[in-house]
């Protein structure tokens, strides 16, 4: 036990590996939120008038809303007037045309994070739309995608070049008035990713974005919109790390997915933002609204997430299964160590006939971490033959942590089959003993067991991501065991 305690201390005191700040000149508005700031953002981004109005309406609605406090998380009140709502790397004002034009310091940041864009281009075959603070600085593989008619660009670009698509789908899945944070995002979002896959096209690459929160005190408000037209197929990767900082940073993103007839969208996230230090100081507040609509029949949306970072995670990627025979999936691993708090889960709304959904959620709590699964499965009256299977398992490591499950099943159709299962346990002494007896160190044994615990979710991740996620989990868990 002694050596374990030592190990615990050693790792608990370990610093956040990706904690560094890149010194880039930024051009920001003063902290605070008002209609003027929104007009400034909108003007700065040369947005059409309808979008400015759209933002202002969202802002006005937001003013009437109250911050939700039903989640099982605790934090100091956020002062929304203290946040800087717009910041763009200055050197990008002219707009880099290629990777060579990109600020070398930014490239250096990516190198430190282990995302060499050049290499990725060649090796991984991943098109990276890297978001550095609020403006996209590099977009790769665009030509190859364009040849197939796929649109993959930053959100601002999409507003300029494909306003009809943006106007048609923006806010159609997550309405402006959906919730407090979605309304805030709708008012002040600065950039994000946009993807459109035309009819019958199988996207040849895995689309990917790397987020980074950088400028001090800048809340980042991402907006992602992915539309898969009839019979198309796309896999999208999202991953993030953030530099160390002592002030809580707010992140309120909105992700909207639309799948038409026979379309297939796979959305994978690896989230590794700064979780705060062991006293719970600093760290990112992550309040995200993610929702996918299976509009067409036989469509399918699959969410996979690995959440290891953030001081607070408040996130419920959901599926609205409107089309007949549509499928929704949610695979999640949420790790909360140190003072991290995660309240995450999903919502599956079955509207169409023979709709199916699967929920696999794995929560790991260590040290003082608090992890909650909160989910809702709703079978509406017309959802003949709907089927849901949910499984939520929690693993507890340490005496101070907590794991909570709040599933909610609402069934209004007798032909529905809904099943929910959950279990909570700690790593068994006998399992550890068995592994150690085979010559593995304690640390390795724990990794082995945790990886086995999470395997069902890792399997759903694209190859490169799975490796990264597995490593992340190991790093985040190291030392929390004792």
């Amino acid at each position: 036990m002694n050596s374990e305690t030592e190990m615990l201390r050693e790792y608990a005191e370990r610093d956040y590996q990706f904690g560094f700040v890149t010194d880039v000149e930024t051009d920001t508005v003063p902290a605070g939120l008002s209609e003027d700031v929104i007009r400034f953002i909108s003007k700065r981004k040369h947005e059409p008038k309808w979008l400015t109005t759209w933002r202002l309406e969202a802002y006005r609605h937001w003013l009437t809303m109250e911050e939700p406090h039903w989640a099982n998380i605790e934090y100091d009140p956020i002062n929304y007037q203290d946040i800087v709502y717009y910041s763009a790397p200055k050197s990008s004002a002219d707009g880099p045309k290629s990777l060579d034009d990109v600020d070398p310091e930014l490239i250096a940041t990516y190198e430190k994070l282990g995302i060499p864009l050049h290499e990725r281009e060649k090796l991984a075959g991943v098109a990276v739309d890297a978001v550095f603070d609020s403006v996209s600085v590099a977009t790769t593989f665009k030509d190859q995608l364009a040849a197939q008619g796929i649109i993959f660009c930053s959100f601002s670009e999409a507003v300029q070049e494909h306003p009809e698509l943006v106007r048609k789908y923006l806010g159609s899945v997550v309405p402006r008035s959906d919730n407090f944070f979605a309304a805030l995002n709708s008012a002040v979002f600065t950039d994000g990713s946009f993807a459109y896959i035309p009819k019958g096209v199988q996207c040849p690459l895995e689309l990917s974005t790397y987020f980074r929160i950088n400028a001090a005190k800048t809340g980042q408000f991402e907006r992602t919109l992915i539309i898969a037209d009839e019979g198309s197929c796309v896999s999208y990767l999202e991953g993030c790390t953030a530099p160390m900082r002592d002030e809580n940073q707010l992140h309120a993103a909105v992700v909207e997915l639309v799948a038409l007839n026979d379309a297939n969208i796979k959305y994978s996230t690896v989230q590794n933002w700064y979780p705060g230090n062991e006293d719970g100081v600093g760290g990112i507040f992550n309040f995200v609204t993610k929702r996918g609509a299976c509009r067409g029949s036989n469509s399918r949306i699959s969410w996979t997430q690995v959440e290891t970072g953030s001081a607070i995670t408040w996130k419920y990627p959901s599926c609205i299964l409107q089309g007949d025979n549509s499928v929704g999936e949610f695979y999640s691993i949420a790790l909360s160590a140190k003072r991290q708090q995660a309240d995450t889960g999903t919502k599956m709304v079955h509207i169409g006939r023979n709709t199916r959904s699967t929920i696999i959620s794995k929560g790991i709590s260590a040290q003082w971490g608090q992890n909650s699964y909160r989910g809702q499965v709703k079978i509406l009256k017309k959802a003949e033959g709907a089927r849901n299977y949910s499984q939520c398992d929690s693993l507890l490591i340490g005496e101070q942590c907590g794991a909570h499950t709040f599933p909610c099943l609402d069934v209004q159709n007798s032909s529905a089959h809904v099943e929910h299962e959950a279990s909570t346990s700690k790593i068994g002494e006998d399992q550890l003993f068995y592994c150690q007896q085979r010559g593995n160190s304690l640390e390795d044994s724990i990794n082995l067991i945790v990886n086995g615990f999470c395997k069902e979710v890792f399997r759903e991740l694209p190859m490169e991501f799975a490796v990264e996620a597995q490593k992340l989990l190991e790093v985040s868990l190291e030392g929390s065991v004792g």
Binding site: S394, I397, E399, G402, C408, V411, H420, E421, S423, S425
Partner: protein, 384 residues
Amino acid sequence: MDWKALLASADGPPELAALRTAASAHFLDRGLPSTRDERWRYTDTNFLTQQELELLRPVIKADAPAGVRVRPLEEAADAAVPLLAAEADMTHPFRLLNTALLRDGLLVEVEDNAKPERELLLTITTTSGLAVPRLLVVVGENTQLTLVERYRTDGGTCLPVTQFSVGSGSRVEHLRIHHGSNDVHIGCVEVRQQRDSLVTNHLLTFGGRLVRNDLQFHLLGSGAEARLNGLYLADGEQHVDNHTTIEHAVPHCDSRETYRGILGGKASAVFNGRVHVHPDAQRTDAQQSNQNLLLTDDAIIHTKPELEIYADDVKCTHGATVGQLDREALFYLRSRGLAYDEARRMLVDSFAAEIVRRITDESLRDELAETVIARLPGMLAEAA
């Protein structure tokens, strides 16, 4: 309903006056729960405000075996006051109402090491109007008690509260059976268990316009074990809501919860089961399951099994299912020559039997199995 006037008119043993006044003030301050309150989201009780209710005394019939002392609250007020005061819940609106109108009820006592030969039978009969019976059950150490609490009614509103205090090493089996049709029944059961005690609760609901049961189990001594079995049958426009909470406050306690529901017609049901494992309650073993059978497309079920765990060395599982009769099983039975109706009845009956068979007493078990069977043809005919 003018609550203020109703509460002001309350009378009863003077020893209980202080409790009544305090609860009354809390209730008037708080009022009835709204559907914005998460715990009352699917059960709207505000219609009670619309109707005029007359406070009526329920008829409580007790058939006590030797070794069990049963006294009306009015006669045993002195002994009851400290018990009531120590465990007063000032948050639950209907418990408050019960306390604010406290008069009718029983104090049941079982002495240490007593061995009652048979079960204690209580029948509480209410008619129209409002009834607020209270049962206080104090079970000593190393003893046992089987308590059958039966509610019979043909309308009206009943807000019963039953409180158990179970001493170390005692075994209690508690049956709470509600036979209703057009009544409102909002009941609370609170159980406090000491070391190595075992309490088995069977909650059977056979309909009622609106039935709500709030069960709270406090496991306060190591080795305590709680078993909660529940069965609810509802059809027509009936509504059944079961909220259970099990507080694992100390290490080494077990809880087993199994609730099953059969819903026909336009019935709606709510199940909310909460298991709360406190920070030091290591080696807790908690299992919870809720299964529901929907016979019609108009029936609605909201189920929410919750686990809240603040200790690491625990084994906790919960499960919930909602489904319909298995077609394969139906086909199998019919291929063996059973008529469609008969086959359906058999399957539904066996679904319910899983709960009924857990009752220890044979004659009670048989009687309740009969009650289920008698109820089924109507429910199934409506569903067909």
